[in-house]
């Protein structure tokens, strides 16, 4: 095994399940009790107390603190997950969002100020993307996609046209077709060109009366800028169809190029990627949607309106709106963090961030292309995709290399995606990595490439120094132990298996 990285290695901790620490009477918490207990018999209450672990405060804190140490986060080190834009999450954004924690959405005075901040965020996002209108409420990227596709569906329905199919390039995120399906569209996958981007020629072959939209990611998941996007938009518009852009990779474009100028009609952006809000181990994210003027009236309600006296109000009464997409106003805490990020950087800072993100990715690509197969030679921006082709002869797969990277103290890249590259490793370092950290990563990857030739068996066994060894995902799907209750009742079975 390679030497354990002293900076990012994991502790040897086995933390039992919380319920195994439970014993009656351990929890002695004193809670706010302003009211005398009254008879609650009219609720038809449950006789037994809720079935929760009974543990002390210290045990709760230690349990979850120990669990936290089994995790890898951005503050540990580089997290080069392609298309996820795992950049540094500024601490000031957390501090500022904290001051909003106690505001109830029915608190009119406080909310008026918040709506003003929301308007400012809308303005910033519209400016960055070159779009006309914005809705901040979708709670994640996929939620934004669904919202955008519902907007397009409604626009088509209102025009009386029958267009039921959305074209999606084969490099797209899996959420794209799933979102289209809920919005009532069929989807058709179309191949990217030989150069790794969609050409107007290919699109022409698939365009017909039934096509409602094309859903494209730009730069795409190979990191390649869709250079024919403007012509593609023209073809779609001539056909009465819309161009939807998945803005997951907007980090490459801030201040450099604007989707609106490319002919995009509708897009979502991921605030938890491009605008540095934390992913929280899988949410909360935020996926605002932006549209061109002609689609504005279909955006979800409520809409924030600003009158001439700088008074901000929410309007629900919108005849053509697709309706509400969230029980309140979206992930407001995340919106505030994204606004903080944008204002911290300013126009120049955003542009510099995009530039550095692309430079860092291209630096790594140059450093690694001597060791790994680079399936597309087309220039790339903020991320690039390698394959395991050159390691295959040694019997090494992308999975082996990803798991070995953990031994070097790195989170692996996105693996086996996009699907157009067999054994893909999609690497996105982001702008917040120093040259030293990039070098450390390049060195780890080179060492792994050499190990494939000299000590391939070690790669199959990795990781060996993480909190657990390679995890059996098939076993999990076969046995379906999803709660500690089912763990208890399955214990006998598990031993015999």
């Amino acid at each position: 095994m390679p030497a354990r990285e002293s900076i990012t290695c994991f502790p040897e901790i086995r933390e039992p399940l919380l319920n195994t620490r439970s014993a009656q009477g351990k929890n002695t918490r004193v809670l706010p009790s302003p009211f005398d207990a009254t008879d609650l018999g009219d609720l038809g209450p449950e006789e037994s107390l809720p079935d929760l672990p009974d543990v002390s405060e210290v045990e709760t804190v230690r349990h979850f603190t120990r669990l936290s140490r089994l995790n890898y986060g951005i503050d540990h080190g580089m997290y080069p997950l392609g298309s996820c834009t795992m950049k540094y999450n500024p601490k000031i954004s957390e501090a500022i969002a904290g001051s909003f924690a106690a505001i109830h959405p029915a608190d009119g005075n406080a909310m008026h100020e918040i709506l003003e901040f929301c308007c400012l965020l809308e303005d910033c996002l519209k400016e960055i993307c070159g779009m006309d209108a914005c809705c901040l409420w979708p709670a994640a990227g996929a939620h934004g996609e669904l919202t955008g596709m519902l907007v397009i569906k409604k626009a088509i329905a209102l025009s009386g046209r029958k267009k039921n199919t959305v074209l999606i390039p084969d490099t797209a995120h899996g959420t794209n077709p799933a979102s289209c399906a809920i919005a009532g569209f069929g989807t058709k996958s179309i191949p990217s060109g030989e150069q790794g981007y969609l050409t107007a020629e290919i699109l022409k072959e698939h365009l017909n009366e039934d096509i409602a939209a094309l859903m494209i990611t730009n730069p795409n998941t190979l990191g390649i800028f869709e250079r024919e996007i403007h012509d593609i938009a023209g073809l779609l518009h001539d056909n009465g169809a819309y161009l939807y852009m998945d803005g997951a990779n907007l980090n490459a474009l801030m201040g450099i190029a604007r989707p609106g100028d490319m002919g995009v009609d509708c897009l979502h952006v991921n605030l938890h990627k491009t605008f540095g809000t934390p992913h929280g181990g899988g949410g909360p994210g935020s996926g605002p949607v932006m549209v061109r003027k002609e689609l504005e009236r279909f955006l979800p309600c409520p809409v924030i309106t600003r009158d001439s006296r700088e008074k901000y109000t929410l309007t629900w009464d919108r005849a053509h709106s697709i309706g509400m997409v969230h029980s309140c106003l979206g992930n407001m805490g995340v919106l505030i963090k994204a606004l903080t990020y944008i204002l911290s950087l300013g126009a120049e800072g955003l542009r510099n961030a995009a530039t550095s993100a692309c430079l860092n990715a291209n630096y790594l690509k140059s450093r690694l292309s001597g060791y790994f197969d680079l399936p597309f030679s087309t220039p790339t921006l903020h991320e690039f995709v390698l394959s395991d082709l050159r390691q295959k002869d040694a019997g090494i797969t992308t999975m082996d290399m990803a798991k070995t990277l953990m031994e070097f103290g790195f989170h692996p890249p996105t693996v086996y995606f996009p699907l157009v590259v067999s054994g893909a490793m999609m690497i996105e370092p982001t702008e917040t990595e120093s040259l030293d950290e990039l070098e450390r990563f390049a060195h780890a990857m080179e060492t792994i490439a050499q190990m494939c030739l000299t000590r391939p068996e070690e790669l199959h066994e990795s990781p060996g120094t993480c909190p657990v060894d390679r995890v059996d995902e098939v076993w999990a799907a076969r046995n379906l132990i999803l709660t500690w209750g089912s763990f208890e009742s399955n214990k006998g079975d598990m031993v015999s298996k």
Binding site: E15, N27, R29, P34, D42, L43, P50, L52, E57, T60, H63, F64, S68, L70, Y72, G73, H76, F100, A102, P105, A110, A139, G141, A142, H143, K153, G174, A178, I182, H279, G280, G281, G282, G283, M324, S327, G330, I336, L343, L345, G346, A347, E348, A353, L359, Y363, P379, L381, M406, P463, D469, R470, V471, D472, A476, A477, N479, L482, T483, G485
Partner: protein, 433 residues
């Protein structure tokens, strides 16, 4: 402020390695006509102190607003532990070997939600209660023979609105609302009985949007005549005292668990939960964490049932959901661990007791609630707009006006009491009514 770390010398090394002369050359693949040459019109860069002064939240003191988003006590340990970067800055746990913290935390969240709802399985969370209900309806709509989604009119208006949004393009599916009894505020059982059938999926909120406790035994009995039915819980604290939803044998229990350790935060992030029994587990949307083994036979955790999900099944997936509300779910696990069985019961009974205390005092003043049936910690009363706004000027949020959603209830206001209110708050409200 920028979070870049390259010196001029570093930049030179980077450019030399790539083989370009200037940083802007890295964008040479973008057609010149598509390049943005102006300067973005965006304020900044702003320093931290300026940002703190400018972007500050200024909450009103106290109040009586709930309606699906509730102010509850959050033990200090929740913020302290959940803000650890290892939890906060990690991605979705695709690489289980270095994500065991997130995974075990979610597994424990799933375990506690399953046990509180009395269901066998919980997923790893949804965006919020409204989208959880919408996803449950989508799940039901894929079952054979389901052509109608029935929902009570006493279900949260925003939830019904989101439901309409999600279902608007699902073919041959009708959305039906069941009226409520204007005296009790409960769902009208006769209408429900007339509406149910094997071709319908039915959802009922308990306690309902008016805070009223629905007659669940009877509703469960009627619901058994539907093809699928579910309960919607918008106040998770009620699970600390009310009969477990699972005891009525619904197909799904969904709702909002923001109350478990997540602040009101101007309405989000919230925390949708989604619980089913094992027979529906493969139809369930969203992420789910399972226990497994590592190659040495040791217990470990990973995301499982991926074959339902969008990255594998694409347009045939059970849902398009990718991110959920991971950190909010972790906060819930921390909260429930900090509360324990007695703590959660105490919070629930404090809320209900406080609401009864206020109701009694109102009745003493001759003010009657709009509905007569038992309630949990919310009730509806009439309050004219002038009075409500006068209270607002005093810094008291005097409930949520609901007449826009229920035109049949003019001047109706939904009043909520939680353990965060004090007797002094209540006195203040009563004096100014």
């Amino acid at each position: 402020m920028s979070y870049l770390c390259q010196t001029d010398e570093d930049l030179k090394t980077i450019l030399d390695t790539i083989g370009i002369d200037s940083a802007q050359e890295v964008f040479s693949s973008i057609p010149v006509t598509l390049k943005y040459t102006d300067r973005l019109d965006i304020p900044g860069p702003l320093d931290e102190e300026f940002l703190r002064k400018t972007l500050a939240g200024r909450p009103s003191e106290g109040g009586f607003a709930g309606g699906g988003i509730y102010r509850h006590h959050i033990p200090a340990l929740v913020d302290a532990v959940a803000s650890r970067q290892e939890f906060l800055t990690a991605y979705t746990p695709y690489q289980p070997e270095i994500s065991q913290g997130t995974l075990q935390g979610i597994f424990e969240y799933q375990s506690m939600m399953a046990s509180l709802t009395g269901m066998e399985v919980s997923n790893a969370s949804m965006y919020d209660g409204a989208t959880a209900l919408a996803e449950a309806a989508l799940m039901a709509s894929r079952l054979k023979g389901i052509r109608r989604i029935i929902v009570t009119r006493t279900t949260h208006p925003a939830y019904r609105a989101v439901l309409r949004t999600y279902l608007q393009n699902i073919r041959d599916l009708e959305l039906v609302e069941i009226p409520f009894d204007p005296d009790t505020g409960r769902t009208d059982l006769r209408s429900l009985e007339e509406a149910v059938g094997e071709d319908a999926a039915f959802f009922v909120q308990q306690p309902n949007y008016f805070g009223i406790v629905e007659p669940m035994e009877k509703i469960a009995e009627i619901s058994s005549k539907t093809g699928f039915w579910g309960m919607v819980i918008t106040e998770a604290i009620s699970l600390g005292i009310m009969k477990r939803p699972g005891s009525y044998d619904p197909d799904v229990v969904v709702g909002e668990a923001q109350s478990f350790g997540n602040p009101v935060c101007a309405g989000g992030p919230l925390l949708g939960f989604f619980c089913v029994n094992k027979n529906h587990v493969r139809r369930m949307p969203g992420r789910v964490v399972g226990m497994t083994k590592d190659h040495n036979g040791r217990d470990a955790f990973c995301l499982t049932l991926a074959t339902r999900e969008q990255h594998i099944r694409r347009e045939k997936a059970t849902s398009n959901i990718c991110s959920n509300q991971g950190l909010c779910a972790l906060r819930s696990a921390l909260y429930l661990s900090a509360m324990g069985p007695k703590g959660l019961r105490t919070v629930a009974s404090q809320c209900a007791s406080g609401a009864r205390y206020l109701m009694a005092a109102l009745k003493d003043k001759g003010i009657q609630p709009l509905f007569g049936a038992p309630f949990f910690h919310e009730f509806v009363m009439k309050m004219d707009e002038k009075k409500r706004l006068a209270l607002k000027d005093l810094g008291i949020i005097a409930g949520i006006p609901i007449a826009a959603d229920y035109p049949e209830l003019p001047d109706a206001v939904l009043i909520t009491v939680t353990e965060m209110n004090t007797k002094e708050d209540l006195r203040c409200l009563l004096e100014n009514l």
